[in-house]
């Protein structure tokens, strides 16, 4: 049995004060000037420690407050209030919600799983991945010694395809083409987000993080010069157009058309693995099938950042992955190809849910930027100064934040796999039977409702 894979995390402090969910509003008018004011009785000494952050011009009080609401309840004239910060509510969009962004910040800062208190208030279903419930039937008792205990749970996955059957020669040894696989210790690969301006510092930090995690960073062939030389085996250059393949890499990504086969591409790139990128558009299952038959062993399916089809925002990537997986299973070639999905991977739960739908691994892109305190304000696209001065982020800090985020996601993956009773991430691929899908349940439960059977009409 191989050594247990563990992501070593260490706290990486925020460079800027994060935007908090709620803020304190304290009115001065009508103050009774009590001898012992509730502000003085604050157990965290928030009112004494407060100050103005001159860099951001914000009061530090909201970041110090622990939301015990003691001052709010204690003030006899009810002059202190807590209210949702409008700046917080305006962050991100419908998919990358403020809660998702702030949880990524927390995980990148601490490397720990965010805990939101007892119980879950809902909602219990929503679009996309939110309409899936994983089967946690193996939770029968509090775990004896946690997710890193004696039970071995492997999160390793293979990139590359295997043959449908082994061939043996006269001498009894395995003959036929050699099976080549790339083994990565967790089903998560890093990826440079498209259409965002990324500084060389950040690329360098991400490359170091990819090396530390033992996974790959997909990065533009032009941008990869910023990465340290030692990280080169952990880079996956994206070769769009006629770009020469850089030396020292093990896998490259291309937008090669599926009409040509993988071997014709490989002739110029010797024994490197080729990952074919296909956009998640309507009819993706047929295109993946054609590409797999043409000999591509790693296929990257790119969905929109909001987890939907690129040509139809009404269709979610969850359904796309399921269709691709089932198409390959029906054709009997599922094991000859590795499916990696990208776009819309915003939370730890999206990793196991993608795997259950049929992906082998996922690319994390926008979350890598959010880990560096990005607020998804889009100011960089408008050539305006970044509120968190992203271009000045030092590479060691960038690497630490990304390792922390992926470490926290890895722990959550272990939690879910432990609760599902699955001990190998490779076994989780396509295990749709171990999950419930809202649409299917809704259909099976309420489909017959209101339908009249023949002969049973009320006179």
């Amino acid at each position: 049995m191989p050594a247990k894979y563990l992501v070593h995390t260490s706290p990486a402090a925020n460079r800027f004060e994060p935007i908090t969910k709620s803020g304190i509003i304290a009115w001065e008018e009508g103050c009774l000037k009590c001898a012992v004011c509730v502000k003085k009785r604050c157990v965290y000494k928030v009112y004494e420690k407060r100050g103005l952050n001159p860099r951001q011009m914000i009061d530090s009080i909201d970041n110090l407050c622990m939301n015990c609401l003691r001052c709010v309840q204690g003030c006899p004239r009810e002059l202190i209030h807590k209210s949702i910060s409008p700046e917080y509510a305006a962050m991100g969009d419908d998919y990358w919600s403020p809660d998702i962004i702030s949880k990524i910040w927390y995980q990148a800062q601490t490397g720990k799983i965010p805990v939101s208190g007892a119980g879950y208030p809902g909602p219990f279903s929503g679009p996309g991945f939110d309409s899936m419930w994983t089967d946690m039937s193996e939770i029968v008792r509090p775990t004896r010694d946690g997710i890193h205990g004696r039970e071995y749970i492997s999160t390793a996955v293979d990139l590359g395809g295997t043959e449908g059957a082994l061939c043996f020669g006269e001498d009894g040894l395995v003959s036929g083409p050699e099976i080549r696989l790339l083994d990565i210790p967790l089903p998560i690969l890093l990826r440079m987000p498209v259409s965002r301006k990324i500084s060389p510092n950040i690329i360098s930090g991400w490359a170091v993080a990819a090396k530390r995690l033992g996974t790959f960073l997909a990065v533009g062939a032009e941008e990869m010069v910023a990465a340290p030389e030692s990280c080169r085996p952990f880079l996956m250059p994206i070769l769009d157009g006629e770009v020469a393949c850089p030396e020292g890499v093990r896998v490259v990504e291309s937008t090669f058309s599926a009409e040509k086969d993988a071997n014709s591409f490989k002739s110029g790139n010797d024994a490197r693995f080729v990952c074919l990128r296909l956009p998640m558009n309507t009819g993706i299952e047929e295109r993946v099938l054609a590409a797999a038959r043409a000999g591509f062993s790693i296929i990257h399916i790119e969905a929109s950042p909001n987890g939907s089809f690129l040509d139809d925002p009404g269709k979610t990537m969850k359904d796309g992955i399921r269709a691709v997986h089932l198409g390959l299973v029906e054709a009997g070639i599922r094991d000859s190809v590795t499916i990696i999905v990208s776009g819309g991977i915003a939370m730890a739960e999206h990793v196991p849910k993608s795997l259950i739908c049929g992906a082998d691994a996922v690319f994390v892109d926008l979350a890598l930027l959010v880990a560096l305190e990005c607020r998804l304000c889009g100011r960089c696209d408008m050539d305006l100064p970044c509120p968190v001065e992203m271009d000045k982020a030092p590479p060691p800090w960038v690497a630490k934040r990304v390792v922390n985020l992926i470490g926290a996601w890895h722990n959550q993956l272990l939690e879910i796999m432990g609760a599902m009773g699955i001990r190998d991430a490779r076994r989780m691929r396509g295990e749709a039977g171990r999950a419930m899908f809202f649409e299917e349940l809704d259909k099976s439960t309420f489909q017959d409702l209101g339908r009249r059977e023949e002969g049973c009409e009320i006179e």
Partner: protein
């Protein structure tokens, strides 16, 4: 005055003034680049003396406040408090030898409101005439 000096002004403005929206803010920042640092506040009454003083201490050659017209504050008296606080700051900086004109306040007019973009340009012009802040030089 050194030739490569670029004036930096901190503009605190109430979100309810004309041109106080997010899109207008982006346009102003694009137009004046690093010379204008904009701080939208829910009401000018939220402004404290410490905001102006910290801005002058850390990065700004001048700090200005744009408020709603007198008598039209959504929170009734926000702009009149801001005016009082601004006077306190002016007294304080004059007592340490800084020019009083480095801080200022413009109350919008309800009849003929001036766009925030034009006001920002005027602030930058007036600071260009006064020159770089000796606080930042030290």
């Amino acid at each position: 005055m050194s030739l490569d000096w670029v004036p930096v002004v901190a503009v605190f403005y109430c979100k309810n003034v004309p041109g106080g929206g997010e899109e207008e803010r982006h346009a102003i920042e694009k137009r004046y680049k690093g010379s204008a640092r904009l701080y939208p506040i829910p009401c000018s009454g939220r402004l404290d003396a410490i905001h102006l003083l910290k801005a002058l201490e850390e990065f700004a050659d001048g700090a200005y406040v744009v408020t709603c017209p007198h008598g039209s504050c959504r929170y009734f008296e926000g702009n009149s408090w801001a005016a009082k606080r601004l006077e306190t700051v002016r007294r304080l900086i004059e007592s340490i030898g800084l020019e009083g004109a480095r801080v200022g306040m413009v109350a919008e007019s309800s009849e003929e409101p001036i766009d925030l973009s034009i006001l920002t340009g005027e602030f930058i012009n007036s600071i260009s005439k006064i020159g770089p802040s000796p606080v930042l030089k030290s």
